[in-house]
């Protein structure tokens, strides 16, 4: 690991200033991803601004939304009584991720900003446009079993590894940000980026901007929800792919629906068109299959991940079946 400076401000503005003024500075919260990346030399910040002393860990109601402080621990959010009651989908997604030890360290903001698990990104001796722009994409013609089927570019086919973010994009959350130019809000769906020509940028945060909270609005999706994560072992593995499903049912009729997928794109992948297919229809496997077919429009596989074209629609169906309990 390279030597680095370490500061631990107690006020948000001081933290923002410290990073905004130094291109080689990074925020650190739980450190569950950044420290690994630093040990491997994938990321080499010269200054770490520890934000753990900032007062950003609260989970509280603000009008019709639940505000999750950026420093709220994944375990705290997953087990929070209000989250479990009003946003059980979020709780399910969080508990499907990582391990209890990691969830006790990782924060809301850090979870959103975790880097891809693409093996080419992690190996300094291999090409990776995300790690080192212009070197090429090792995965494009490499071992791309875990990679994207939506929204990729010829520069990068990596996927975003977060489970939590898949639930938050489905729940229409809003990201609150503070930066050198003041405060602003981003729709969760606009927070992460597709790789395009700049895969080195994972999110739309500007330099020095700090996530302060995530607002999750009240919704009718308190009962018929499910987070279906398919992985190679029963626990503690990144998703081959995952589906967040939420239904608002009137009897057996779908009044409203939310669907999002993880492990298929460079960002949590909201399936708006498929949601529209569901609305007004009976909650049956046949309906779910129709939605899954629409969800898969535009999907394209690489040499080693063609299975995702079969697995994704099946997982959508399974998630909706479990959510609707049919």
């Amino acid at each position: 690991m390279n030597q680095f400076q370490y500061v631990r401000p107690t006020k948000p503005q001081a933290a923002i200033d410290a990073v905004a003024k130094d291109a080689n500075a990074k925020f650190i919260a739980g450190g569950t991803n950044l420290v690994d990346l630093m040990k491997r030399g994938v990321m080499t910040p010269q200054k770490l601004v520890d934000i753990n002393r900032l007062p950003l860990a609260k989970i509280e109601r603000q009008g019709n939304t639940l505000r999750l402080g950026a420093l709220a621990l994944n375990s705290a959010v997953a087990n929070d009584a209000q989250v479990r009651e009003r946003h059980p989908l979020l709780s399910l997604a969080l508990n499907a991720g990582a391990s209890p030890q990691l969830r006790n360290m990782a924060t809301v903001g850090g979870n959103m900003l975790q880097r891809t698990r693409c093996t080419y990104f992690y190996d300094l001796s291999m090409p990776c446009n995300k790690r080192q722009p212009g070197t090429g994409c090792g995965a494009l013609e490499g071992i791309n079993r875990m990679h994207a089927i939506f929204g990729f570019s010829d520069k990068c086919i990596a996927v975003h590894p977060s489970d939590m973010s898949v639930a938050l994009v489905a729940l229409d959350a809003t990201v609150l940000v503070s930066g050198p130019k003041g405060n602003r809000q981003l729709a969760f769906a606009d927070f992460h980026r597709l790789p395009g020509d700049t895969p080195e940028r994972d999110s739309n945060l500007e330099p020095g901007e700090l996530i302060t909270a995530v607002d999750v609005p009240d919704s009718p999706f308190t009962k018929h929800v499910h987070y279906q994560k398919v992985r190679e072992r029963a626990s503690y593995a990144f998703a081959l792919l995952s589906v967040a499903a939420a239904l608002d049912l009137d009897g057996n009729t779908i009044k409203a629906a939310r669907l999002a997928m993880g492990g298929v794109a460079h960002k949590p992948w909201r399936l708006t068109a498929a949601e529209q297919v569901l609305v007004g229809k009976p909650a049956t496997e046949d309906t779910f299959r129709q939605a899954a077919t629409v969800a898969m429009q535009g999907a394209k596989a690489f040499k080693h991940n063609a299975y995702k074209l079969r697995l994704a629609p099946n997982t959508i169906v399974q998630a909706l079946k479990t959510a609707a309990a049919v």
Partner: protein, 745 residues
């Protein structure tokens, strides 16, 4: 008088359990020595070629760095001297990698430099500053391509009776002309041992010609021999200490480059060097289960008698060492087939050398054989258990001689009952539990009941404790515990009065812990040493103890910690009292097989594993919901640690069947699975409660204890049991492991 409880067979707790769970047990990277320094290895980033230039200037100048060693400045290691005729090709095939000896790169992440610094962190930082430039050559890491040049191992070329040589009984490839036949290919990918404790060594030159290493090894004597030879030292000048080993599964059966590197480093800096591999380096530098391609052809009569089997295999090895294993051994002896052909080949790729991984070749071979058995049974519309019973062998069909013991039928019976085999349907896809398809499968395992030679010393101390010593290691099965139980029963002492010391090359010699042979070999030596010690005590008693003044040696009886004289209950002397008179109560015995049982009988352990699996109908996820492992392993010394070994082996089998898969990107000849996020082993949630059954019948042809060995048969046959259960659940036959959801969806 209270008699002592019998210890052999009892579920005694581990004698070192408390030390292990409290952190008191010291592993090889936990020794602190004055002046300690720390080594970090730099690996190559190409798979084949030459180091054109290596820039170490920045690393040498980094804070705390004591030395940066490469092929350009490494001291001459006597054992690395050229052995071939062409001095430009000093690296001869057949030997381990000679580290820092030349500019050749033979596999990706081959160590090309060692940085030694005063702290670990400084060494690791400086290691990243070493920059190498290469003249790259075209590498071959792809097995499908490499298999075209597969060859008969040299050992078999030289000796047609080698177990690696082609084998035939009856007619060659007779299955081809039969009416009822199958012919299928099976693949096991590269799998990694990944014990919890990573490979580590602390090397200390106590004098210019005297070396002590605290090393992770399965054999202190073998390791001593290797490094004494490497440095041209008398073996007595090299001491290897491996008191605790945090798992190994075979990967500490070979001396590896990092061990040589630490010893070189310690020589150069004149201080002890501690070197622990990273988890990433564990993928590239300490062996693996080789990628293996297999093909099985099998034919049978309509009433289920196998008429022919042909089993071919190609395993991967490195370009500089020929690694072979007994992939085809089980096929030659397990079923009664009049026509049988086996052909074993290896293919040399630009990778590091493989090494035996638990169950070794037999586990690889059993995946193909036992999958083929299931396929043939299905073709015949026969229950796979019934099919195996119809081809049961009452004597060894390979060697045409009786089994020493074989209770496999009892294992079949017990396992079928425990798994609920009657619930199994012949046709796949017939059982369902909600969204999950349910299936049942079985797989058989066998491994030679090997016994070698071992020395053990036994000494009675004045406090009444008996100390036994042997150079053997304990990589996790509970060796010290089993030996304590054997000694307690033999000596007539409670276990608290026994201390078994191991893991030190200075102790009486034994072989490495591997091949399920430790209890068979060292256990018997312990029993023999204890018998000899009792004899010694009788001798001491008869020679001088006042209570036995007129007694003959044969009249002195030993039991429950006391010497007695015939029926005279009044004469009762504690063992330790004998030390009050002249003569030492110390014996040192060598124990090895005698007689010709090894020639008259075929000696094997047997196991059968029954699996119940659930496969998700839509997502293809597999959960092993029940696993029953039954073993005919001879006498069970400790019911608890033996069952623990069986369970560990079964969980290893789950990993093999469902998740373990090391992948190389052949464009770079480099692993893309480099950590536990990419290379999966089972977590607790993947392991059901494994039910274990032991026949527990002694095999007195192996040794007087009647043990046959457990470690390997715990894993052999598990993977095919699961694969067969998946077929029974889904109708999908996956012949390439691991069976991940993408192959079932």
């Amino acid at each position: 008088m209270k008699t002592l409880d019998k210890q052999i067979g009892a579920p005694m707790n581990r004698v070192d359990g408390h030390q292990k769970v409290t952190g008191a047990a010291k592993y090889s990277a936990e020794y602190e020595l004055p002046g300690m320094s720390y080594g970090v290895l730099v690996g190559s980033t190409i798979a084949k070629g030459r180091i054109a230039h290596i820039d170490t200037k920045a690393a040498v100048g980094a804070p705390g760095v004591l030395a940066v060693i490469t092929h350009l400045n490494s001291p001459q290691v006597p054992g690395f001297k050229p052995t071939g005729k062409d001095p430009s090709q000093p690296q001869t095939v057949g030997g381990p990698l000679k580290i820092f000896h030349d500019d050749k790169v033979r596999f990706n992440d081959q160590p090309i430099a060692l940085v030694v610094a005063d702290t670990f962190e400084r060494a690791r930082y400086a290691a990243r500053l070493v920059m190498a430039h290469y003249t790259q050559e075209t590498h071959q890491t792809n097995m499908a391509a490499g298999a075209k040049d597969a060859f008969l191992p040299t050992s078999a070329q030289k000796n047609p009776k080698s177990p690696m040589a082609d084998y035939q009984r009856g007619q060659a490839d007779a299955y081809k002309t039969a009416a009822l036949k199958i012919e299928q290919e099976y693949v096991i990918p590269t799998e990694m041992h990944h014990p919890m404790e990573m490979q580590a060594i602390t090397a200390h030159w106590e004098a210019p010609d005297r070396l002590t290493i605290y090393d992770k090894t399965q054999g202190t004597i073998g390791t001593r021999r290797d490094f004494a030879k490497e440095w041209n030292l008398p073996e007595a000048n090299v001491q290897v200490i491996a008191t605790f080993v945090g798992g190994a599964f075979g990967n500490a059966l070979h001396s590896w480059p990092h061990e040589s590197a630490a010893i070189i480093g310690a020589k150069v800096v004149g201080r002890p060097v501690k070197l622990m591999l990273t988890r990433e380096q564990m993928f590239t530098q300490v062996g693996y289960r080789p990628y293996t391609w297999q093909k099985v052809g099998m034919s049978a009569t309509a009433d289920g008698k196998i008429t022919a089997i042909t089993h071919e295999s190609i395993g991967q090895t490195s370009t500089y060492e020929e690694f072979t294993e007994s992939t085809l051994a089980q096929t030659r002896m397990m079923y009664q087939s009049p026509n049988l052909t086996t052909r074993y080949r290896i293919a040399a790729l630009d990778v590091g050398t493989p090494i035996w991984m638990r169950g070794p070749g037999e586990a690889t071979g059993a995946f193909a054989l036992e999958s083929a058995m299931d396929e043939m049974a299905y073709l015949l519309k026969l229950d796979p258990l019934e099919f195996r019973l119809r081809n049961y062998t009452d004597q060894d069909p390979e060697k045409n001689r009786p089994w020493s013991t074989k209770f496999l039928k009892e294992c079949y019976r017990a396992g079928a009952e425990r798994i609920g085999w009657t619930k199994r349907k012949l046709e796949p896809g017939a059982l369902r539990d909600g969204d999950w398809l349910v299936g049942y499968g079985m797989g058989v395992g066998t491994f030679g009941a090997h016994r070698g030679a071992a020395h053990v010393s036994a000494q009675l101390l004045p406090n009444g404790t008996v100390v036994l010593q042997c150079a053997t290691t304990d990589i996790g099965p509970g060796t010290g515990t089993a030996m304590t139980q054997i000694a307690a029963d033999t000596l007539g002492l409670p276990p608290e009065k026994i201390r078994f010391e191991l893991g030190n090359s200075g102790f009486p010699q034994s072989g490495s812990q591997g091949g399920s042979s430790t209890v068979n070999t060292v256990g018997q030596a312990v029993q023999d040493a204890c018998m000899a010690l009792k004899d010694k005590l009788r001798e001491l008693a008869a020679a001088g103890a006042p209570a036995f003044a007129s007694a003959k040696k044969e009249d002195v009886a030993l039991a429950n910690g006391y010497l007695t004289l015939g029926s005279n209950a009044a004469t009762r002397v504690p063992y330790a009292d004998l030390l009050k008179q002249p003569g030492a109560a110390l014996v040192n015995v060598e124990s090895k097989p005698t007689g010709n049982d090894g020639q008259l009988y075929s000696m094997y352990s047997f196991s059968v594993h029954f699996a119940e699996v659930r496969v998700h109908a839509l997502t293809g996820e597999v959960r092993v919901s029940k696993l029953v492992s039954c073993a005919d392993a001879g006498t069970i010394i400790n019911q608890k640690t033996a069952a623990n070994q069986m369970k560990g082996g079964a969980v290893g089998g789950i990993g093999m069947a469902l998740m373990e898969h090391a992948i190389i990107d052949d464009r770079y000849g480099r692993y893309v699975t480099k950590d536990f996020a990419d290379y999966h082993v089972p977590v607790h949630a993947d392991a059901p409660a494994v039910e274990v059954y032991f026949v527990n019948q002694p095999d007195l042809h192996v040794n007087a204890l009647g043990t046959k060995g457990i470690g390997e048969i715990a894993t052999i046959g598990v993977a095919p049991a699961i694969a067969n259960a998946i077929f029974n659940a889904t109708g999908k036959r996956v012949r390439e492991l691991p069976i991940t959801p993408d192959k079932l969806v």
